[in-house]
Structures are given as C-alpha cells and as structure tokens.
C-alpha cells in the first residue's frame, strides 16, 4: 500500500535545503524505508536541493524549487528535484567543491539529469528499497 506522492514547492534559498530534506525523509519513513537507506535519501536530497539553490538562478532572483517523491510499482522510491533556472549548465566559477553530482550518484541507485519540463534542470533519483 504505497503512500500518495508527496509534492513540495519552496523558494530557492539556503534555509530551504533543511526543510525539503526533512520533508522527503519523513515521506520516505512513512513509505517504510529502512534506516540505512534513509541516510542515503537524506544526503542525496540535500545535495540536489543545494544545487538548485546554488546554480539554478545564479545572479537572478531565486525562483522555485519543486520536489516530488513517489513510491513506484516495484517499491523503489523516486525523488525528483526541479527548478526553473538556467538548466544544467557547466560553471567554471562554481562556489562548490564539485562533489554534489558524484555524491548523489554514489548513494542513489540511479540519477538522471535532464532539462526541466519548461526551463531549468530536473534531477531524478531512484532508491531501491528492497522491502
């Protein structure tokens, strides 16, 4: 009995990273995820939302970050983080360490980066829950 999908929309500001991280973890817990896997979800969501806050709008006014979480038919947890920014574009002046995407790839079972539905970037992560 999979829970209804979760949807959250926040402003792309640094304080919202913790808000979304907690919201998705609570959703994942409600979906019966194991404690081990929960740590992976927490870290991956934190990195993905951080990227949207840091990179999507750059010098523009911060727009939205939208997160969508759902349990798929095979029991996998899928989390999508989407923004309306520049789209996935390289950034030689990145303030980051360049660890975000590879960190997500190393804790999630799959990560897909595409252009957003209208504009911006869309990062999809899947976690096998094995339960």
């Amino acid at each position: 009995m999979a829970p209804e999908p979760g949807r959250w929309t926040v402003a792309a500001t640094p304080d919202q990273v913790a808000v979304l991280r907690r919201a998705v973890c609570e959703y994942a817990r409600g979906a019966g995820i194991t404690d081990g896997r929960l740590g992976d979800v927490r870290l991956a969501v934190s990195e993905a939302v951080t990227n949207a806050v840091l990179h999507a709008y750059r010098d523009r006014d911060p727009g939205e970050v939208r997160v969508h979480a759902t349990v798929e038919a095979d029991g996998c947890l899928a989390v999508i983080v989407e923004d309306d920014g520049f789209g996935p574009l390289p950034r030689p002046d990145s303030p980051g360490l360049g660890l975000g995407l590879p960190t997500i790839a190393s804790v999630a079972d799959a990560v897909e980066l595409t252009a957003g539905t209208a504009a911006g970037a869309r990062l999809s992560m899947r976690f096998v829950t094995g339960g």
């Binding site: 640094p14 304080d15 919202q16 990273v17 913790a18 991280r21 740590g39 927490r42 870290l43 934190s46 990195e47 951080t50 806050v53 840091l54 980051g96 360490l97 660890l99 975000g100 960190t103 190393s106 804790v107």
Partner: protein, 112 residues
C-alpha cells in the same frame, strides 16, 4: 556560551588547556555553512593558538557543510594555527569518506 544561528547548527566555544574548543552540533548544510564558517574564522583568529573543532554532535553534513571544514583547514594552514577536527563514528564520518575528503583533513574519530 552557546549561539544558535538562523540555520540548524548550534555553536559554542571554550578554552581548555590553552586550546580553543569550538563545538558544533546539529546539521551542517548550505543553510548553516556561511555562518559556521564566519564563526570559526572569527574565534580562531581571536585565539591565535591551537583549535579543536568538536563535531561529535553533528547529526548530518552534506558537501556544502564540508566546505566549512575545508575552509577552516585552509585558514589554519595560512594563518599558522593547528587544527584538530574531532568527529564521532556516524553520518559525518561516512560523508567524509564518500567525499574522499577524509584523507585531506586533520580528522580524528573519538567516541562521544
């Protein structure tokens, strides 16, 4: 003295045996990083001697949070104070290991 920043990390400091101990607990992420970074820089500069960064109470850190540690390490090297980062055997230790930063920072694992 404890200071609660706008983010989700709590900070306190004390001098013990000549070493400044900066204790941080809570969640070290993008929302906390800038404030934590400034706070470490300020106290370390005012103290001038050895600094222990006690992170055993940090329940969560991501790569934005780890940036504050890299920054503290760079400041210590540049300004010539010694730094010791003390962590527990938990999420922060794992995240440091995944990031590959554990070998690049003066990290010590001690029980809480």
């Amino acid at each position: 003295m404890t200071f609660q920043p706008t983010g989700s990390a709590a900070l306190s400091h004390a001098v013990r045996d000549g070493a400044l101990t900066l204790t941080l607990s809570g969640e070290l992420d993008l929302g906390a990083e800038r404030e934590v970074r400034a706070w470490i820089g300020e106290h370390a500069a005012a103290h001038g001697g050895p600094v222990v960064l006690d992170l055993r109470g940090v329940a969560f850190a991501d790569s934005a949070g780890l940036r504050a540690l890299i920054n503290a390490d760079a400041a210590a090297r540049q300004d010539g104070w010694s730094l010791r980062i003390v962590i527990a055997d938990g999420q922060l230790r794992q995240t440091l290991a995944v990031s590959g930063l554990d070998g690049m920072l003066p990290v010590y694992v001690e029980p809480e």
